[in-house]
């Protein structure tokens, strides 16, 4: 099978899977024949008379909700009712700030660690200890010291993004091929030029791989962090809709989180492709 035919077949199969999934979903959530309500009064008390659907939505209800959200994503009607676009912007701003700070710290510092075998070995135990700690475990300390929930969120993103980047940068820099360094030595290349013209491009694929791992973790963590600190953001939106018992909105938010995460990964993937070289 040629490459083009193969991708066509894969696409068709994807659509088929989606169709089967939607069909099962539709059948599973289709409204059952209503049991006759005992009395109107009683039904009203239970909220059955209200239009709001309880339980899991049908695909059609989800599509309708999605359309409403996407039609007006930027409205702001007080602290508990903001458009999905505004919530996303808050989350992305926190991730962007924490992630950028992590790059600014991890890449230069990882560079130094990678250049010095002694520093590498001296700091490695600390990094290995810090790496597996759930970033949310830092939240109380962040809230206590920073005393601002929004900045604490940024700090949590920073602390979870920093380790993969630090480790990968140090590893990438430490494993630059000896041959290339020998070339720079015989050419009497100055240290700064060596760092930027040889070591950085040589280690770039490893560094960007670390960045890609980090953005994935950061996007996972922001949802949990915002559920915890509240206020704004897509994580808070999910929690708020759960409190409203509006599962349609929760499922819509889950889809949005997935799509945004995919886009973030795709962007760093593009960067990765740009700096990767074939030996």
């Amino acid at each position: 099978m040629s490459g083009k035919a193969q991708s066509l077949a894969a696409g068709a199969l994807s659509l088929l899977f989606l169709g089967v999934f939607l069909a099962i979903w539709h059948i599973a959530t289709a409204p059952k024949a209503q049991v006759q309500a005992p009395a109107d009064e009683y039904a009203k008390l239970l909220g059955k008379g209200a239009k709001k659907s309880a339980g899991l939505p049908t695909p059609e209800q989800l599509a309708e909700a999605a359309l409403t959200h996407l039609k007006d994503p930027l409205y702001d009607r007080g602290s508990n009712d903001k458009g999905i676009g505004i919530q996303l912007a808050h989350s992305l701003a926190r991730v962007g700030a924490g992630y950028a700070l992590a790059i600014l710290f991890a890449v230069p510092f990882g560079f130094l660690i990678g250049m010095s075998p002694i520093l590498y070995r001296a700091l490695n135990p600390f990094i290995q200890l810090m790496k597996p700690i759930s970033p949310l475990a830092w939240m109380p300390i962040a809230l206590y010291t920073i005393k601002d929930s929004s900045i604490s969120g940024v700090f949590v993103i920073f602390i979870c993004s920093v380790w993969p980047m630090l480790i990968n940068t140090a590893f990438g820099v430490a494993s630059v091929r000896r041959d290339w360094l020998d070339v720079t030595r015989t050419l009497e290349v100055k240290p700064l030029r060596k760092a930027f013209a040889v070591i950085l491009p040589a280690a770039a694929p490893t560094i960007v791989t670390g960045m890609r791992i980090s953005i994935g973790i950061a996007w996972l963590v922001i949802v949990a962090a915002e559920m915890l600190v509240g206020g704004t953001g897509i994580g808070y939106f999910v929690w708020n809709e759960w409190n409203n018992l509006n599962l349609t909105n929760v499922i819509f938010a889950i889809l949005v989180i997935g799509v945004v995460g995919m886009i973030l990964d795709f962007l760093i993937g593009r960067l990765q492709a740009a700096v990767t070289y074939v030996e």
Partner: protein, 277 residues
């Protein structure tokens, strides 16, 4: 006084002596090849000449100055070509050119690089990355990069070892032509006896390691210019070839065991072999 003087050079790792009492000179414009079995320390000697490695004992004087550390005065062609894979052929050469002449502008660098690319026969492949080049083409870029800085001396570490016979012949011809045109001083490691006879003015023969030394220095009796296609018709050719092959299969071991040579006397003086008569 010779252009390059190597005096009583030795390299030891703990109690193990790789080579010792290595003594030789190279004249300006001379092409010297070094032959020996693996493990005799040829590459270490070349790295010491390049300044990338330090000897355990001995001195090294080039052009009346002691060699201490790497320098732009010596260009190195590495065994594994050592091109930077994220740069094109042209940029790899330009990297060296900018190191040599930092004040040059873009056009000067470009013109100089193009000249070298044309010289090694890579015209048209300037903007290809190493991964898109064949083994022979990569090594040509490596040679062009080493020539680009106009070094006083060129060091080649078995540059054609990984190439097929046909490509190797073509690049040998080119190297011969370039070296004759530029009167470049060259020190080259090779495993190939025919390559040494074709290229070298003198051939250093190293005994087996450990405890290796330069046992014989053979002066190539075949006059220049030499031609790869007719060199085997030269009356001296088979005498030189047999002498070198005999050394590799036979005498290199006997020098190591002390059966031949004046072991124990420092510095050892390599036997000068003249096969003209």
């Amino acid at each position: 006084m010779s252009f390059l003087q190597v005096q009583d050079l030795a390299k030891r790792y703990g109690a193990t002596t790789v080579f010792e009492r290595v003594d030789f000179t190279i004249e300006r414009g001379e092409f010297v090849c070094i032959i020996g079995h693996s493990g005799c320390g040829k590459t270490t000697i070349l790295n010491i000449l390049a300044g990338l490695d330090t000897p355990s004992a001995g001195t090294l004087i080039m052009d009346n100055r002691e060699v201490a550390g790497p320098s732009l005065e010596r260009g190195v062609v590495f065994q594994g070509h050592a091109l930077m894979p994220w740069l094109t052929a042209m940029s790899n050469i330009a990297f060296a050119v900018r190191s040599r002449w930092p004040h040059w502008n873009r056009i000067q660098v470009q013109t100089h690089c193009q000249k070298l690319i044309d010289m090694v026969g890579l015209t048209g492949a300037e903007h290809k990355r190493p991964a898109e080049l064949s083994g022979g083409m990569k090594q040509r870029v490596g040679i062009a990069r080493a020539f680009a800085i106009q070094p006083k001396m060129l060091l080649l570490d078995e540059p054609f070892g990984a190439l097929d016979a046909l490509t190797r012949g073509t690049i040998q011809d080119e190297l011969l032509r370039i070296c004759e045109a530029t009167r470049q001083t060259v020190f080259m490691i090779t495993h190939d006896v025919d390559e040494a006879i074709l290229l070298a003015d003198r051939i250093l023969l190293m005994s087996n390691g450990p405890n290796a030394c330069v046992a014989e220095i053979v002066e190539n009796p075949i006059p220049k210019p030499r031609d790869r296609h007719s060199i085997h018709h030269n009356p001296h050719y088979y005498r030189v070839r047999n002498h070198l092959v005999d050394f590799l299969v036979n005498r290199s071991k006997r020098y190591q065991s002390g059966e031949l040579g004046n072991r124990g006397q420092a510095p050892i003086s390599a036997k000068i072999v003249n096969l003209r008569h």
